[in-house]
Symmetry: C2
């Protein structure tokens, strides 16, 4: 199966390595203006193409692993040379905008399967690619009314071959749910890292004093800025609503603190503890 990988960073690179190791793909052609050369050095792709259109020529499988807002222009660029039978999959963190771009710019949107592996880390680029990245992780597939059943079945099989557990979810539900468990946590980590970073500029001794709490709370603030800019913008409405809900929680904490209301404060912390348990279960 000749394969094209458009975007050879953490996720695209890891998926190419994992599919290759599972014996599911043949020669891999990559396109990535920033990271293509390095991806070839690392053995992620066999060949680097000068454009998305060149990369997909003759490919039976096309993996889109670009920042979500680049999906439209990439589809536009590759549409003329895309084989009519190719299976196209993305790996983006939001689905509704991606699917609009697909419907608009791909000649055969029925052969596209929207996929989102819940496997990102704060690392990025081909050097972070890892064939084991998807083992035991969820991959969410968001078929539409037009998606061909054979394309969906093949996508499912490929993700299972790299060790992922597959779950189907409606695109609108996907974006609303991921807003809470992923996009809002990123916004919070960005705000916290910026506030504390500014304080550390005023007081350099902060550097030696941070413990595991700060390190973990802000780990995802080290994520790729272009990727996350796109994710946040493409889920704008849901995210603005989630931020209002976060504000309400912060205001409640502020009121309890400003009023030195120990009982209210303890209750709010207990509520946080229970809320977390509701979402992550017994995982640590």
């Amino acid at each position: 199966v000749k394969t094209a990988v458009i975007g050879c960073g953490l996720i695209g690179g890891s998926l190419a390595l994992a599919l290759r190791r599972a014996g599911r793909i043949g020669p891999v052609v990559g396109f990535d203006p920033r990271a293509g050369a390095r991806a070839k050095e690392r053995g992620i792709v066999d060949e680097v193409a000068p454009s998305a259109g060149e990369a997909v020529r003759g490919a039976e499988l096309v993996l889109l692993a670009v920042p979500v807002r680049a999906t439209a222009s990439v589809c536009e660029a590759m549409a003329p040379s895309l084989s009519p039978n190719a299976l196209v999959m993305d790996v983006g963190s939001t689905k509704q905008e991606v699917l609009e771009a697909i419907e608009r710019f791909l000649p055969h949107p029925e052969r596209f399967v929207a996929a989102h592996p819940i496997a990102g880390t704060e690392r990025s680029g081909p050097d972070a690619a890892d064939a084991e990245l998807f083992v035991g992780r969820w991959c969410l597939l968001s078929p539409t009314a037009h998606t061909r059943p054979d394309a969906l079945a093949r996508a499912r099989e490929l993700w299972q071959a790299v060790g992922a557990r597959v779950q189907e979810i409606d695109p609108e539900h996907h974006d609303r749910a991921l807003c809470w468990v992923s996009h809002l946590p990123h916004v919070v980590a960005f705000a916290l890292a910026s506030a504390v970073g500014a304080a550390a500029e005023r007081d350099p001794t902060l550097q030696g004093l941070s413990g595991g709490g700060f390190v973990d709370t802000t780990r995802i603030a080290a994520s790729d800025p272009v990727m996350w800019r796109d994710v946040l913008l493409s889920n704008r409405e849901a995210l603005l609503e989630a931020m209002r809900s976060l504000d309400d929680e912060l205001s409640a904490l502020r009121r309890a603190l400003a009023g030195s209301d120990a009982a209210a404060l303890e209750q709010l912390i207990e509520r946080a503890r229970q809320g977390r348990r509701r979402v992550v279960g017994e995982r640590k």
Copy 2:
């Protein structure tokens, strides 16, 4: 060295285990109405006393490991039976309020050394106690103008014996700095866990969808509510100011998002990434 441990949870229990293993302490008497019996079962203490006053009778070393706002009443309770030569140390996350309680309620505040090991986790109670907890971690000592040099030297030596690296820091500077790298991250984690927990009540599918980002960002939201209620209240002013700074960062993100300002959003995320690096260095 007969030792009293007032509060036998994660930190008190770990310190008793670690000092015992290092051969620095003799018989250990504990006092902890909630966790005393369990601490004895785990071999953290040899004996459980019915009160703080009984626990410290004849002790040459007294370890206070209670929620910071319990310091005053514990000191009041143990003052009459405290040996005049005993070294008393706390392990609290804030220092100024603790030191006020010490000056007011201990007969010999010059033999008290304020200590804060940067080694907490989201776990709590004697079952979480671990003799290795302090290895390679910072322990901050905050001597005052009254602290006896021999008491300070002895405290330093004890923390080094359990593997900690010791650093001195002025109490006011301690509270201001820890506000940024520890207390504000906890507030943020509490607000986030509550907001997402409430969303998960409305949409139970969220439980299966959270990845490492949410788990890490909210890990410290699982911390002990009573302990953290006290820490936050005892650093109220600094924390309210830090929360205003967090609000400013959230507002900037909200404005960029609401205005679909991609350049501003990318810049804010890049700023967060750099801010984090300034605080944690190259650690992951």
